[in-house]
């Protein structure tokens, strides 16, 4: 058996899905679109193993308000329900938020039009009861003509009952019914339904409603049918205020029916109800004066707990202070990957592996993948906070607080959170742009992403700040973050005026009720992110590091040379590229090719910039400049000799603004689904980096550095 889970955003659908499927859940993609397809298995322990209901596949449809074809999510849900992909559901569990019954039933009236059996899972009835209201499930069930089961997804109540009823109904089959049969359009509607029945089409009622709405998909390529539908529609007299808008007429009919037939299923406490808890919280968190400062305080805490070396004030009590949980976990992760690397090196040695094999595995693969994995704890920390914000409902408020400041740069508030995630890692941040409805705005947000300095770039800033600006290290790092934000604003204005013409999309969002975060949801979300990150680190990044290692250890005749020497393939390529970078300052120094090679390896992954510089500038010193103090000191001296302050800032700026890493390029490709736009984006990043570094170099020179 296969059941689909359908419902509004914020109806508790994700909670129910996690509850039903537990650890069996996995995420894929719907074909052709970047919409997550979540699937899992529910095991019914109450029935015999031979029963079809013992093992039920659950498909989580995206959260939608309607089955109209206006967003990719709606199209996916609709195509799946109508079995366009050949693996349609045996039943739809429609989860309905009882505290917002009328609006949720709007989707239900649409689902009812299909011929698939339906069970309504009435969620949050406990909240409704707490508010003193009562809901008559039996009356609701009788009027809808399908079973209605009260559940609490949060407290795992009523789930067994829900699944048992679902199984009974799934075996029976159902005929679609529509609220239009109860509207002034009923007569004409009936004739269209008959027309589709004659043609032997599946889901005739659903198709007939779409035909009334003028949805061309369901008139098919049969010109005769299309003509007859037009004739029938021609005789429908719409009320004048609808201005001949059939879609509005259908929506209106749905809401009228809901108000007339279902509103009475809820008995509300008499007397004027006061403000809800959520409204009271909102009077503080979205307060005209306090809203933004509180939001910035939250953001500061999130980043402080994730990235701060010593937590604020703790260095007054403990020597060196207490590191933030993020930094602490990162140190442990680093120690772990180091231990694994060392053990493997020892093993290789005892096996008598050749130098090149050891080099490839230890200096190439392990160093590269280990470097990326060491950021995993901090990225997960960041996601922990973000998913708590999402789960509590604060995310919607944050988006609307940031809408106005961003709007003048052509970005809506919904884009703010993905951009913020960019400070952690561009890859999940780009995936986070899926919440944006407008394609242009999505492209714009993805293109701006690298300018928000990600965690992997931090080691570059730390290294240069310490070596070149020892007395102003924090200011230099701050300057880089500032340059990034300024570049993002400038780029947004330029892109909105040229290739992505247009203004920020209209901003409208539901404000969900606040509630405590649910451990199960947060954990599921984190696990999903961690798994994705690890998969990428062990595939794309591992592949790229092997390629880079090969290029930096072999020359064009494929014989091995000194690692990262000028004779290696990267050395030759780097030297050839030097003229391009000469106007940026850092490439006019002696040994300029080294900086250029670091820039090029940085295109693969930003973690490689520091390790490349370390290897190139002081090949005599053993050890990793990131971890070994002596190596770091020697490298700093070498850097001071090769980089003027202006050249250093220019070099940092280029790394900040250019292609972030291959993982980000792969993600941009997957999210934009357009080869043309991928190349435009890559070109845009490289161009901005060059122009940005040029401006920074000459501006700092003029300022006398």
């Amino acid at each position: 058996m296969r059941f689909a889970l359908a419902g509004n955003p914020n109806s508790g659908k994700t909670t129910l899905f996690n509850l039903l499927t537990g650890s069996t859940a996995h995420v894929g993609n719907w074909p052709g679109v970047t919409v997550d397809r979540k699937e899992g298995t529910y095991r019914n322990k109450g029935v015999k193993a031979s029963d079809a209901c013992e093992r039920i596949d659950i498909v989580d449809l995206p959260g939608i308000y309607s089955l109209s074809p206006y967003t990719p999510e709606e199209v996916v849900a609709r195509n799946y329900i109508l079995d366009e992909m050949g693996d349609g559901p045996d039943l739809i569990i429609n989860i309905v938020d009882a505290t917002n019954l009328e609006r949720n039933l709007y989707l239900t009236t649409q689902i009812m039009e299909s011929d698939i059996p339906v069970v309504v899972a009435l969620n949050m009835t406990d909240v409704l009861h707490r508010n003193g209201a009562k809901i008559d499930e039996r009356a609701l069930s009788e009027r809808l003509g399908v079973p209605v089961v009260a559940i609490s997804a949060l407290h795992a109540e009523g789930i067994g009952e829900l699944m048992n009823r679902a199984c009974e109904v799934a075996k029976k089959g159902r005929k679609g019914s529509s609220v239009i049969e109860d509207s002034p359009m009923a007569e004409a509607f009936g004739r269209i339904v008959d027309l589709f029945r004659e043609k032997g089409l599946s889901h005739p009622v659903f198709r007939a409603v779409k035909a009334i709405e003028g949805d061309i998909l369901y008139t098919g390529d049969n010109a005769d049918v299309a003509r007859r539908i037009e004739e029938i529609k021609h005789n429908i007299a719409l009320r004048p205020e609808l201005e001949g808008d059939f879609e509005a007429a259908v929506a209106d009919a749905r809401y009228r029916y809901i108000t007339e037939h279902y509103k009475s299923a809820i008995t509300r406490p008499s007397g004027k109800s006061g403000r809800s808890t959520s409204e009271k919280i909102d009077s503080v968190l979205t307060n005209k004066v306090l809203g933004l400062p509180i939001f910035f305080l939250f953001m500061f805490l999130v980043f402080h707990l994730t990235f701060a070396e010593p937590l604020m004030f703790t260095d007054r009590f403990v020597e060196d202070g207490i590191p933030s949980p993020g930094v602490l976990l990162q140190t442990w992760m680093g120690n772990f990957t180091d231990a694994v690397t060392e053990a493997t090196a020892g093993l290789l040695e005892s096996m008598g592996a050749s130098d090149w094999a050891t080099g490839l595995i230890i200096d190439g693969l392990f160093a590269g993948v280990g470097g990326v994995l060491s950021f995993l704890p901090q990225i997960l920390m960041l996601f922990l906070f973000l998913s708590i914000m999402e789960d509590t409902g604060y995310m919607a408020r944050a988006a609307f607080l940031m809408d106005r400041p961003l709007r003048r740069f052509g970005i809506s508030g919904k884009a703010f959170l993905p951009l913020l995630m960019g400070f952690g890692c561009s890859v999940p941040a780009m995936m986070g742009t899926r919440t944006l409805d407008d394609e242009k705005e999505r492209r714009l947000t993805i293109m701006l992403m690298p300018f928000f300095s990600c965690g992997a770039k931090l080691p570059i800033w730390s290294m240069f700040a310490a070596a070149i600006f020892p007395n102003n290290a924090d200011k230099a790092v701050f300057a880089i973050y500032f340059i990034g934000i300024a570049a993002a604003i400038g780029a947004a204005i330029v892109l909105r005026g040229t290739i992505l013409k247009g203004a920020a999309s209209v901003f409208i969002m539901e404000l969900p009720a606040y509630h405590w975060p649910k451990l199960r949801n947060v954990a599921a979300n984190l696990w999903e992110k961690a798994r994705g990150f690890i998969v990428r680190a062990t595939t794309i990044i591992a592949g790229a590091t092997i390629v880079i290692w090969f290029l930096s250890n072999f020359d064009f005749s494929f014989s091995m040379v000194d690692p990262n020497s000028q004779e290696s393939i990267v050395g030759v390529l780097g030297s050839a590229l030097v003229p391009i970078f000469r106007p940026l300052g850092f490439a006019s120094m002696p040994d300029a090719w080294k900086a250029v090679v670091a820039i090029v390896t940085g295109l693969i992954a930003k973690e490689m910039v520091v390790s490349t510089l370390g290897v190139l500038y002081n090949p005599e010193v053993e050890g990793d400049a990131l971890e070994d103090d002596a190596a770091a000191g020697a490298l700093a001296a070498a850097l001071v000799a090769s980089f003027s302050p202006a050249a250093a800032l220019s070099f940092m700026t280029f790394n900040l603004l250019s292609v972030p890493c291959m993982a980000a390029v792969a993600t941009a490709n997957a999210e934009m689904r357009s080869g043309k736009w991928l190349w435009i984006t890559i070109g845009f990043w490289l161009l901005t980096a060059w122009v940005g570094a040029f401006i920074v170099y000459h501006a700092t020179r003029l300022m006398g550095f």
């Binding site: 308000y65 309607s66 109209s68 206006y70 505290t99 917002n100 019954l101 009328e102 609006r103 709007y106 205020e241 609808l242 879609e247 509005a248 929506a251 209106d252 809401y255 959520s278 409204e279 909102d282 009077s283 979205t286 307060n287 005209k288 809203g291 933004l292 919607a396 609307f400 607080l401 809408d403 106005r404 709007r407 809506s412 508030g413 209209v506 901003f507 409208i508 969002m509 539901e510 404000l511």
Partner: protein, 68 residues
């Protein structure tokens, strides 16, 4: 709707937004003839109560929703 006084129920008369936005508003419960309550104004946005849900929209959109 921006001009409507806060906290009082009003009826949507006409929505002058483009097709796609109009459909989205319908799905969220905002369509001609529907009663809605503008609740508060914050940072260039209007919070509206529609049936039992609360929606937030920017003034640019709120201006396109005519109420009586």
């Amino acid at each position: 709707m921006v001009a409507a006084s806060l906290g009082n129920e009003v009826t949507v008369a006409k929505i002058a937004a483009d097709e796609k936005v109009k459909r989205h508003l319908e799905d969220l419960g905002i369509l001609a003839g529907q009663t809605i309550t503008p609740m508060s104004d914050c940072m260039g946005n209007t919070v509206v109560k529609v049936r039992d849900s609360r929606l937030v929209m920017n003034h640019g959109l709120a201006e396109k929703i005519y109420v009586r």
